[in-house]
């Protein structure tokens, strides 16, 4: 069996009939330790990726089929500690304590064992049945590190398996250990800390009730000492004695060490981790390979001049792809597909013809979006992320992005936004902080995507002049910066400064990259395809049913009075919500001409393009926002941008009108 990396073959022997998963296993560990790779290896391609209920934290779930057993595997977010400081930590802590997975698999980076064991020690405090996967053994070996797995296993009292997840090595053994652990429930041994800390833990623990709110007594005692808000809240009324003892002990600890008790305990854990590592790890002379390679690449990637050049090259490449290759493939696809059936919105015809036209237009729209823009972008994003370049870019751009209240990582969604807003919004997941995630998504919806670029170029650049088109672009960028700063102040929630790990570079692993791309594309298709098809049908049907004239009438005050546009543009803007470049198609269909300068004045053309650029994001974007951030955020953004578009359009019409 060794060497069969993607061990999906066995699945065929155990057809995934409507059999219920027997066991639940959670994968927990630091970020950048190969947890996702381990998850992919364990579960194969059949994964269910969504969000934790009510949270903007990604939740991945899959099924491990091994030795006739069906095991549900949940991939917990990558975290460094189990306090409740971040949403990720909260989600993980609650899942482990309340959902009680049968086994927690702690995926660790063998090349940075000390810090990883710090996290392991917290899992041990939680007393969950544990299996430890020492991952990235290849990286450790290259750094000259060898680890006595047996000894570590004995010391901690749980199975320890060495793995190289991206190569699929050790996955079989890990699966065996997981299956074994579902039966034997290996309870980790308690790791004792320093005397002065242990005394106080014992004192508090003795005063606790038998079942202190779902968490183990020792954990609860430690958390009380640390002054953990949730635990204090839970225990304060139920065991006031314990609470009082904890507060006093905590203060004593603070006095002895001169630091907050929580920091003292973290230091104790690190001390215990150091001792464990000293017992099981040996360092030989390193092969001097990976670290120095990383150092060499970093000398370029983080160089004050060359780093930015490299960055400009990659971002420029992404833009070039959008405007040249992507546009070309998109046009090519439309040519082929329109040979099968016309893709312009139909104005007259029978109901069935109109419904078919709507569905077909929607399908074509989805295909011409996903094939040229989404898949290549997701592939590149996965490569940048997987290789370790993303963290370097964040580092280089952090300062600049701070001006918009964002971290450096937000550059990726913003650049992707030039292609299509939907994948860009979904890619905001790479930002950890919830506030910044939402802020980035908001700004992404303002970035001129390829569809809006088509409108600006097709309407303004062609029929007014290129300078006005560029001016619109410039105005948009100014808006992004200004609104970014304003929204940063207005949005609730704290924005914490960046503290992130810099992993070593490695070649992106093919199956991981493809898996990542596929999962992201799939969740995008789930949004875009129905939105396009149903939306197109609905609007063409409304058109056929003669509902459009009333729409024009309702929108008359806005389109005609405020914006100075012909009344028929009301319908055009409604079409545009399905997909922004539909505005051009609809405009042409209604006026019966593609020479827009014959039917609209230059000011009208500019206002039309400006409003199209800014008003409500397309329906797929709205759905993507709703999926990631909830309907409230999605609708607020839509309303805000529509209002802004109308206001700016009105200003341009009334101010520029007399001059042009």
């Amino acid at each position: 069996m060794s060497g069969c990396g993607d061990c999906d073959g066995c699945d065929l022997l155990h057809p995934p009939a409507a059999m219920k998963a027997e066991y639940v296993v959670a994968l927990a560990g630091n970020a950048n330790v190969g947890k996702s790779a381990t998850f992919n290896q364990l579960t194969g391609v059949d994964q269910d990726i969504g969000n934790w209920p009510g949270k903007t934290v990604e939740r991945a779930e899959g099924i491990l089929q091994h030795r006739g057993r069906r095991i549900r595997v949940i991939d917990l977010p990558g975290i460094y500690s189990i306090n409740a400081l971040s949403t990720e930590e909260q989600v993980s802590r609650e899942f482990i304590a309340h959902d009680r997975p049968d086994v927690v698999v702690n995926v660790t980076d063998a090349s940075a064992l000390e810090r990883n064991l710090f996290f392991t020690l917290q899992l041990i405090e939680l007393e969950s049945p544990l299996v430890i996967a020492l991952n990235q053994m290849d990286l450790a070996a290259r750094k000259g590190i060898s680890i006595d797995t047996k000894k570590l296993s004995t010391l901690l009292g749980v199975p320890v398996v060495q793995t190289i997840a991206i190569q699929g090595k050790g996955i079989l053994e890990l699966s065996d250990a997981i299956v074994g652990a579902t039966l034997s429930r290996p309870r980790p041994r308690v790791v004792r800390y320093g005397k002065e800390v242990e005394e106080r833990i014992a004192r508090v623990q003795a005063l606790l009730p038998a079942d202190p709110g779902g968490y183990p007594p020792r954990w609860t005692a430690i958390k009380l000492l640390e002054g953990d808000t949730d635990t204090v809240w839970e225990i304060r009324k139920r065991a006031p004695d314990a609470m009082a003892a904890a507060t006093e002990s905590g203060r004593e600890l603070e006095k002895i060490h001169g630091e907050p008790a929580a920091t003292v305990l973290s230091a104790e854990r690190y001390h215990a981790a150091e001792e464990l590592v000293a017992g099981v790890m040996e360092i030989h002379s390193p092969e001097q390979n990976d670290a120095s390679l990383t150092e060499q690449i970093d000398r370029i990637a983080l160089h004050p001049v060359m780093g930015y050049l490299l960055l400009a090259l990659i971002l420029g490449g992404l833009l070039a792809w959008t405007f040249i290759i992507g546009a070309w493939i998109s046009a090519f696809l439309i040519t082929i597909l329109s040979a099968i059936a016309p893709v312009e919105p139909l104005i007259t015809g029978s109901i069935s013809e109109i419904v078919f036209n709507g569905a077909w237009t929607g399908l074509v729209a989805a295909l011409t979006l996903i094939i040229p823009y989404v898949i290549p972008f997701y592939l590149i994003l996965a490569c940048i992320e997987d290789s370790g370049f993303l963290t370097r870019f964040s580092l280089m751009l952090d300062k600049g992005m701070h001006r918009m209240g964002l971290h450096g990582k937000a550059i990726i969604p913003l650049v992707l936004g030039f292609g299509c807003t939907v994948p860009a919004c979904l890619s905001c997941r790479i930002i950890e902080n919830p506030k910044q995630k939402l802020l980035a998504a908001f700004l992404v919806t303002l970035v001129p995507c390829s569809a809006r670029t088509i409108v600006i170029l097709g309407v303004v650049a062609v029929f007014v002049n290129i300078w006005w088109a560029l001016a619109l672009y410039l105005l948009d960028f100014i808006l992004i910066v200004v609104l970014g700063r304003l929204a940063f102040r207005a949005l609730p929630g704290e924005s914490v400064g960046m503290i992130m790990e810099m992993p070593d570079y490695h070649l992106p692993h093919l199956s991981g990259v493809i898996g990542q791309t596929w999962n992201r594309t799939r969740s995008l298709i789930g949004i875009v395809l129905p939105a396009y098809i149903v939306g197109s049908i609905a609007i063409t049907a409304a058109y056929a049913a003669g509902l459009l004239e009333p729409i024009n009438t309702v929108l008359y005050p806005i389109t005609v009075l405020l914006l100075g546009l012909p009344a028929v543009t009301g319908v055009v803007f409604v079409f545009g919500i399905i997909r922004k470049e539909m505005t051009i198609l609809a405009l042409a269909a209604i006026f019966g001409t593609t020479v827009f300068s014959a039917v609209l004045t230059p000011v009208q053309l500019i206002v039309f393009a400006l409003v199209t650029l800014l008003y409500a994001p397309c329906i797929s974007t709205i759905l993507a926002l709703a999926k990631e951030f909830g309907w409230k955020a999605a609708l607020s953004i839509t309303a805000l941008e529509t209002g802004l578009a109308i206001a700016l359009g009105a200003v341009v019409f009334h101010v520029l009108g007399p001059f042009l």
Binding site: R115, E254, P260, A262, M396, K399, M498, I499, M500
Partner: protein, 238 residues
């Protein structure tokens, strides 16, 4: 020479040294606003007292003793600037000159009280970093919590923020200031007290700094890193 003058000289030399490496007589004269001839004279006195290393025609550099003294005055100066700006709302333009006069008369006790009152600020109103105090504390919070502790005498070596290390330089963590959640996050990532770290590089334009700790590398926001104080290895102060 009056101690006030002496401190003024040391401060100027520290400033010039940071920019140019060595403080030339002419530069010092410009900074202290006296004739170059008086500067030469003063440098000889300072050199005799062991505060500077003076080489005629080249300029002066601070000795460890001189540096410690200069840093201390600088710290007071900047603390006073914060006090004048934030508490007394004195006009920004006047703050520097006012602080210049006040800094020389401040006692250790007052300095400590001022620091507590201002909640251990990290930077002066002009954006320059305020150095660590020389009390024997490992964390500002313990100092802020215990209001009545007599000022202690200096500790060994000067503490500098991690952002002042040179790339490749190693140091051990002395204390981290800042609010509890940030300190906790840094501690969780392995930045516990007395841990050895190494500054790998600083991103341009006051961007994040990259440090190596416990076989991993972390990128830390410059503003946060300013609050991580270390004692640099291989350097013995005082």
């Amino acid at each position: 020479m009056a101690s006030e003058q002496l401190e003024e000289y040391l401060e100027s030399i520290l400033d010039i040294e940071e920019m140019h490496g060595i403080a030339k007589t002419s530069a010092i004269a410009k900074c202290v606003k006296v004739a170059p001839a008086s500067v030469t004279e003063a440098l000889q006195v300072l050199s005799e007292k062991g505060y500077v290393k003076y080489e005629p025609y080249k300029g002066a550099t601070l000795t460890d003793l001189g540096r410690e003294m200069a840093c201390k005055v600088k710290r007071r100066h900047r603390l006073l600037e914060v006090f004048l700006t934030d508490v007394l709302h004195i006009n920004q333009e006047k703050v520097h000159d006012e602080a210049c006069k006040m800094e020389h008369t401040l006692s250790d006790e007052t300095e400590c009280a001022l620091c507590k009152l201002l909640n251990a600020p990290a930077r002066c109103p002009h954006g320059s970093l305020i150095g660590a105090c020389d009390r024997r504390v490992e964390d500002c919070s313990s100092c802020l919590a215990e209001a009545e502790q007599p000022p202690a005498s200096g500790r060994n070596g000067t503490l500098i923020p991690v952002t002042s290390l040179k790339p490749g330089q190693k140091a051990t963590i002395a204390f981290i200031r800042g609010d509890t959640s940030v300190v906790q996050r840094l501690t969780d990532l392995g930045l516990t007290l007395k841990t050895e770290i190494q500054l790998v590089r600083k991103a341009p334009l006051l961007g994040p700094v990259e440090i190596a700790v416990r076989k991993t590398r972390l990128a830390i926001d410059h503003a946060i890193a300013d609050h991580i104080f270390v004692s640099a290895c291989g350097e013995k102060g005082g």
